[in-house]
């Protein structure tokens, strides 16, 4: 079909290659890649396997890929993205994989295997989640002290982070709405923080709460949205920016609700 026929590809069928390219693009988008990187990767993978006109359009929640092949046929596939998070390990490995694909042009089965290995490896293992929990605790405790708290505040924030992690693990399965998820999570987190202080573990309620807020704050999203906008992806940048502003408002609202409710309930001081 193209000049690259010297490399024996068992599966040059546009549809199949497009599916794999979309798999990789989707995986990258879900791991928090910039739009430019996703579009570039998909385009390069398609053009590595065959010639033609490849058009990719990506926003936060959708990838559209259309390929006009050299034998004058049009193929179009779309992929809806429902949720995304930041996973730099997956992002790095996917980036390396896509480079490898463009150079070596492996079979589609190989790509599928690799994508599956990257996306589902260690997510289910218990050691992985223990390490993640450790990271959560360190982050909350470190920033509680960083913003002027005492060591006891750090410890309280760390304990609160453990409960928060358990809650998030429990609730994440039931919700894909990011704003509502953040609102409820920060409400629960605020309540846990107040309890921690009332139990006498933490001293300054504000510092404990700040430590926990740092875990929820969408700073990374906001940063990525600005980078997307510089690179010319205004639509996605605006979407992400609007979402991170909504999430920030939801955090403030959730914590405010917790403070107000705790004031009504008047949980007695123990410490």
């Amino acid at each position: 079909m193209s000049a690259k026929e010297s490399n024996p590809i068992s599966c040059f069928e546009a549809e199949k290659v497009m599916e794999k390219a979309l798999d990789i693009g989707e995986a990258m988008l879900c791991s928090g890649a910039e739009i430019l990187r996703v579009e570039d990767t998909i385009m390069r993978i398609c053009l590595a396997y065959g010639d033609g006109i490849v058009d990719v359009f990506t926003i936060l929640s959708l990838i559209i890929l259309s390929w006009h092949t050299t034998d004058d046929k049009n193929y179009t596939q779309t992929r809806r993205i429902y949720s995304y998070s930041t996973n730099l390990k997956k992002l790095e490995e996917l980036n390396a994989l896509s480079r490898y694909i463009c150079e070596e042009k492996p079979s589609c089965d190989f790509i599928e295997e690799q994508v599956e290995r990257i996306m589902y490896e260690k997510d289910t293992k218990k050691t992985g989640s223990a390490v993640l929990l450790f990271g959560n605790v360190l982050g909350a405790a470190g920033f509680a002290v960083f913003f002027g708290g005492m060591l006891r505040d750090g410890i309280a924030a760390g304990i609160a982070a453990v409960f928060l992690y358990l809650w998030m693990n429990f609730y994440q399965k039931h919700s894909s709405n990011r704003v509502m998820f953040t609102l409820l999570t920060s409400f629960v987190a605020g309540f846990i923080c107040i309890l921690m202080v009332r139990l006498g573990i933490g001293v300054n309620q504000d510092k404990v709460m700040i430590g926990i807020i740092m875990l929820l704050i969408p700073g990374i999203n906001m940063m990525n949205s600005l980078r997307d906008m510089i690179c010319g992806d205004i639509i996605t940048g605006m979407l992400k920016l609007a979402e991170s502003l909504m999430v920030a408002v939801a955090i403030a609202g959730g914590f405010a609700l917790a403070i107000i409710l705790a004031g009504f309930l008047a949980i007695p001081f123990v410490g």
Binding site: A33, N87, K89, L91, L132, L138, A141, M222
Partner: protein, 168 residues
């Protein structure tokens, strides 16, 4: 003012706890094990610049902007040295600058019904966020212009292909 003992007593706790927090976030964002050290170095660099700017008496906006500029420089250079996406280095480096405490105080003032303090802290939060964003934007725009000509390449590639079709 340049006494190390004085500076250490003022910023030592912040530096160490900021590093611990950055390490925690690196784990939280699944940074690969061999890249953890770069994340911590990035966090330390941006913290040190941040402290330096405080000592120079700059305002909130410039403190965060300069720290973000140096952090982004570090990330873009490391991305080219270690050959990994620059996001991997940028995210940990910017994390200590995130205005988490200001967001909290804005919310607290709002709950207490103190309109003046809400406005004050809200504006401050906005200023810090804008400073970080501008710092990142400035440097990554330069690097983008210098080496990442992906968009131009993409357009060119597409045009050539289209020309080929027309002649066939």
């Amino acid at each position: 003012m340049l006494e190390l003992g004085y500076l250490w007593s003022k910023y030592g706790v912040m530096l160490l706890s900021g590093l611990v927090g950055t390490l925690g976030f690196c784990i939280f964002f699944h940074v690969k094990k061999d890249k953890l050290i770069y994340g911590c170095i990035g966090g330390m660099i941006s913290l040190l610049v941040y402290f330096f700017c405080i000592e120079c008496g700059m305002n909130d906006f410039f403190q965060n902007m300069f720290a973000a500029i140096i952090a982004t420089l570090f990330a873009e250079i490391m991305a080219r040295v270690v050959k990994a996406p620059s996001t991997v280095f940028l995210i940990p480096a910017v994390i200590p600058l995130t205005p988490g405490s200001l967001l909290y105080y804005t919310m607290e003032a709002a709950v207490e019904g103190d309109a003046q303090m809400t406005k004050y802290y809200g504006q401050k939060t906005g200023m810090v966020a804008l400073g970080i964003a501008l710092g990142i934007v400035l440097v990554s725009a330069i690097f983008y212009q210098m080496s990442h000509k992906n968009v131009e390449m993409k357009v060119k590639l597409g045009n050539e292909k289209r020309k080929g079709f027309e002649t066939k």
